[in-house]
Symmetry: C2
Subunit: 492 residues, 2 copies
C-alpha cells in the first residue's frame, strides 16, 4: 500500500456517511467516452434471444459480461440453467446466467442488481434509420438495439461500482449482480435457478434492484408497480375438418360465429370489462393515489400522437394513467386456425382459437380470474345453444407487483434522484408485466425496487431504439448515489 | 369410302332418331380399361394451377388435351388468354385455353361442353392413403387428385364423341369444347376470352353444358342452380403501429374489439342474417319447390357424420337442402393483421381486416347487398363511438345462377338419365358458386345445363379424391345419350 492511496482512503472514508457527488460526477463525466465505447461493444453483439441461430451471440454476451465483472475483482459465476426445447423438438442449452459479488461484509446491507443483456430482434430493413447493431450517436442519442433495453442500464450499474473502486471509496453496501440472457423470450430457466439459490446466493440479500424499465417523461421516475397478465386461449371446435363455405354454408353452426359471439361479451365499446367479478376485485383508487397522478408529468397529447389515434380511451391524465397502471384491461390479440392471409378464401374454419389477455392489478388473483373468465365464457356459450365445443384455458397467470412507496427503499431512491437530478421523481407504475419481479419477491421474500434510467421515448422493442447520453451518464451517477442512500437504511 | 363403312352408316343412320344404348354400352364397356388408362395419364400430370411453379405441368395438360381432340379430327385451337401477375409482382403467361369443334352442320344443334383440367393442390403427407398423382383403383374407386374434379368428366365427354366416331354413328349435334386450366384459382382470363369470342366461337352455340359438380346421393342428379357469393373485407384501423398490450392496454380503443363487435352483428346464434333487407330479398320458397325437396334422396345422418358435428343447423332434410341451396348465409372466414400463429403474443393489432362472405341467391343483387352490408356495418360501428376507422369493401360480387327446370334442355337430361341409369334424376342445386355459368349466361345469352357425373362422396378439394369406375363409365354412356336427346329439341 503506498502512502498516497492510504491517505486518499482516509480522506474519503467519511463518504460512507456523506456522498461526495462532485467526486463521482467528475470521475463519471471524465469517463463518458469509455462508457459509450463499452456500450458500443455490447450493442455490437447481436444477442437476440428469440432466434436460436443467434444463440452463440447470446453466449458470447454472457461471457463478455462475466469477464468485465471478473476484471473488476468480482466473485463471478457463469451458472448453467439447463436446456431449452425449440419448437422443432431440438434441445439446446440455455445461455448461462452471470452472477457476481462485490464485498461480503456482514455489517453492510447487500443489494442485488438484476438485469439482462439479451435483446429483441432488429433488422435495418424493418425501418431503422441506422444499422441496429452499430451504436450511432445522433444529437446525443445513442441508437442501437438493446441500448436502453437493457444494456446501458446494466453497464451503468457496473460503472457505478467501478467508480467507487476508481475513487478508492469503500462500497457502502455489498453488491451482487444477476444478469440473464433470455429475458426477451420469457426468462426461461430463471425461476428454477432463483428457487435453487434461495438459501445460498439470495440468502444474505436485503433488496433487489431492477432497472429494466423507463421514465414517463423527461422527469426521473421511480417505478413501484407492474401489472400482471392472465393470457387465455378460447377454442371453439366444430366440424372435423375445414369446410367449403359454398358447399356447407347455411347447414352448420360455424365455430367462428360462436367464437366472435363470445369474444364480443368480454368488453363493451367504451372499454368496460363485462366479466362479473373482475372490476369488483380491483383495489379502490384512493384520494392519495389520485392526487399523486395529478402531479405526474405526462403529456397526453404527445402520448396520443405517438400512438397515432384520434382519441384515447379516457380524456384526463389521471384516468389514462390509472387505466394504464392500476385497472385491468382486456386485449384480444388474434385468432388461430381461421384464414389470416391476405386475399380471399371461402373456408369455414373447423377449429378456431382466440387469444386474449387480461392485465392483472391488485387485488385480482389469477386463479380466481381463471375461474371467472372460464365460467363466464362457458355461460355465454351455453346461451348460444351451439353444437360446437368450447374449451377455455389460461396459459399464463402472472401476478401484478406493487411496492409500498413509503418503504425506506423508495425513500433512498427519492433522495438519490433529488441529489443527482435536482428534482423529485415521479412515482409511476408499468402497464406491462416484469414477471421476474414477482418471482424474486415470492421466492426470495426480498423487497424489490425499480430504478429506471431509460427515457420515455427510447423505443424499446421498436425501430430506432436509443439511450440518451444524458440518461446513461447521469444514470450512472444516480446508481452510485443510490448505493450510498440504500446503505443508510438502518439494519433492524 | 369402302362398302363396309358405307353400309354401316346406312345401317346406323336411324340412330339420329332412336338412340341405340346397347351398341354404345357394348362399345364403352369394352373400352373401359382404355378410359381408365387415359384418366391415369391425365391424373399423372400435376396440373395444380394454384402453384406458379407447377405452371409447366398445367401447360403440358393443355397440350395433352388439345392433342387428344386433334387426333379425333376436331378443329382445335390453343387460345392465348394473356398474362397473370403473381403476388410477388412477377408476370407469367396464363395457361392457354383449349377450344375444339366437331361438326358444323347448320341444320344441327350445337352444344358446347365446358370443363377444366387443372386441379387443387395435393400432397401425400396431407393425409392421402395413396400417392395423389398416381391413379389407384381401390374396390372400383379410382383415387387421384383431379379424378372427379374435373378430369374424368372431361374425358367422359371426349369418349362420348369418340364412341359415336368408333361406332360410325353421325354426331346428332355439333359439339364444341372449351377446356381451361385456371378454374381452381378463379378462371383468370376466361371472362375476357368469352367476351371476345361472343360473336365468333359462341355465336352458333345453342346450349352450354357443364359437368363440374356432383350428385347428392347414389341417385343421379341434374343441377339447376348455384349460389353466388359476395365477399367482403371489413377493415378497422386504429393506432399507427401494433402496440404492446401491457404498455398501452386500457388507454386505447382496440381495433380488434371494434371489429369483433361489428362482426357479431352479422348473424345470430341460430344462423339468421341480421342485415336488414337481405332476408327480405330472397325469393319465397314455393310449395312445388318444397315438394321437390321431399322426394330428393339425401341422407341427413350421413351428411352430419361426414362433417363431424353433433347437430346440423336445421333438423329436417327440406330445411337443410333449402339452406344449402336457396337461402343466403354468412360465413366469417378469418381476420388478417391480428396474431394468428400458435403460442402467445401480447399485441394490440393496429389494423385488422375481417374476411366474410354472403352466399347469393335469387332475388338478391350483389350491388344492393354491397350497399346493405356497408350501410349496416357503418351504422353498427357508429353506435360504438370509436375513434378508429372502418372501411368496408366488397371484393367479389358473383351472382347466383338458376335454370328453369322445365326447359327442354333439362327434359333431355331427364330422358338421358332415365335411359342409362333406369331412374329419374334428383333435381338439385349447388351451395357453392360456379361463376363461369353466370358468365356464359350473361355474356353469350345461351342457356346452360349442369350434368354432373361425380359421386356425392368424391372428396373434391379434399384428401383421397376419387371417381368411381361406375360413374365414369356409365357417365360416358349418359353423355353419349344426352347428345342424342338434346338433338331432339326442335329448332324454332
Amino acid at each position: 500500500m503506498n502512502y498516497l492511496l492510504f491517505s486518499s482512503i482516509l480522506l474519503l472514508t467519511p463518504s460512507l456517511h456523506a456522498f461526495n457527488l462532485d467526486a463521482f460526477s467528475k470521475h463519471i463525466d471524465s469517463h463518458q467516452e469509455e462508457y459509450v465505447e463499452a456500450l458500443r461493444e455490447w450493442v455490437a453483439v447481436e444477442s437476440d434471444s428469440s432466434d436460436a441461430l443467434k444463440r452463440p451471440e447470446v453466449e458470447k454476451m454472457m461471457e463478455i459480461t462475466a469477464e468485465k465483472l471478473r476484471k473488476m475483482g468480482g466473485k463471478v459465476d457463469l451458472v448453467d440453467i439447463g436446456n431449452q426445447e425449440l419448437p422443432n423438438g431440438k434441445i439446446i442449452p440455455l445461455p448461462k446466467v452471470v452472477t457476481a459479488q462485490f464485498g461480503n461484509d456482514p455489517k453492510k446491507r447487500t443489494v442485488c442488481v438484476y438485469g439482462h443483456v439479451d435483446v429483441q430482434p432488429a433488422k435495418q430493413e424493418d425501418g431503422w434509420a441506422t444499422e441496429p447493431y452499430n451504436l450511432t450517436d445522433i444529437n446525443g442519442n445513442l441508437h442501437g438495439r438493446g441500448a436502453s433495453d437493457n444494456k446501458a442500464p446494466v453497464l451503468a450499474w457496473i460503472h457505478a461500482v467501478e467508480a467507487y473502486q476508481a475513487l478508492n471509496i469503500e462500497l457502502p453496501v455489498n453488491v451482487k449482480y444477476i444478469i440473464e440472457g433470455m429475458e426477451e423470450t420469457g426468462s426461461n430457466g430463471l425461476d428454477a435457478m432463483v428457487s435453487q439459490r434461495k438459501d445460498t446466493f439470495f440468502s444474505d440479500i436485503d433488496y433487489i434492484i431492477i432497472s429494466d424499465c423507463g421514465w414517463l417523461s423527461r422527469r426521473p421516475a421511480l417505478t413501484y408497480g407492474t401489472r400482471g397478465n392472465c393470457y387465455f386461449f378460447a377454442e371453439v371446435e366444430g366440424p372435423k375438418q375445414d369446410l367449403h363455405s359454398g358447399v356447407y354454408g347455411g347447414t352448420v353452426i360455424e365455430p367462428m360465429t360462436d367464437l366472435i359471439g363470445i369474444l364480443d361479451t368480454l368488453i363493451n365499446p367504451s372499454g368496460r370489462i363485462l366479466i362479473p367479478g373482475i372490476n369488483e376485485a380491483v383495489a379502490p383508487l384512493t384520494d392519495e393515489e389520485r392526487n399523486m397522478y395529478e402531479n405526474i408529468q405526462f403529456d397526453m397529447e404527445n402520448y396520443r400522437k405517438k400512438i397515432g389515434v384520434d382519441r384515447l380511451m379516457y380524456s384526463t391524465k389521471e384516468d389514462v394513467l390509472a387505466h394504464r397502471w392500476r385497472y385491468p384491461t382486456v386485449s384480444i390479440h388474434g385468432i388461430e386456425g381461421a384464414f389470416s392471409a391476405s386475399g380471399s378464401k371461402t373456408v369455414i374454419p373447423a377449429k378456431v382459437i382466440a387469444k386474449f389477455s387480461i392485465r392483472q392489478v391488485p387485488d385480482m388473483d389469477p386463479s380466481v380470474v381463471e375461474k371467472q373468465v372460464t365460467d363466464y365464457l362457458n355461460a355465454m356459450f351455453a346461451k348460444r345453444n351451439s353444437p360446437n365445443k368450447l374449451r377455455v384455458q389460461m396459459i399464463i397467470g402472472a401476478k401484478p407487483w406493487v411496492a409500498d412507496i413509503n418503504d425506506p427503499l423508495y425513500e433512498a431512491g427519492k433522495k438519490a434522484v433529488k441529489k443527482v437530478f435536482g428534482e423529485d421523481p415521479d412515482m409511476i407504475r408499468e402497464g406491462g408485466t416484469i414477471p421476474v419481479a414477482k418471482t424474486f419477491e415470492d421466492v426470495t421474500g426480498k423487497r424489490i425496487i425499480m430504478l429506471p434510467i431509460g427515457g420515455f421515448d427510447d423505443g424499446l422493442h421498436s425501430q430506432n431504439e436509443k439511450m440518451s447520453r444524458y440518461n446513461y451518464i447521469e444514470g450512472t451517477k444516480y446508481f452510485a448515489a443510490y448505493l450510498h442512500e440504500v446503505a443508510q437504511i438502518p439494519k433492524v
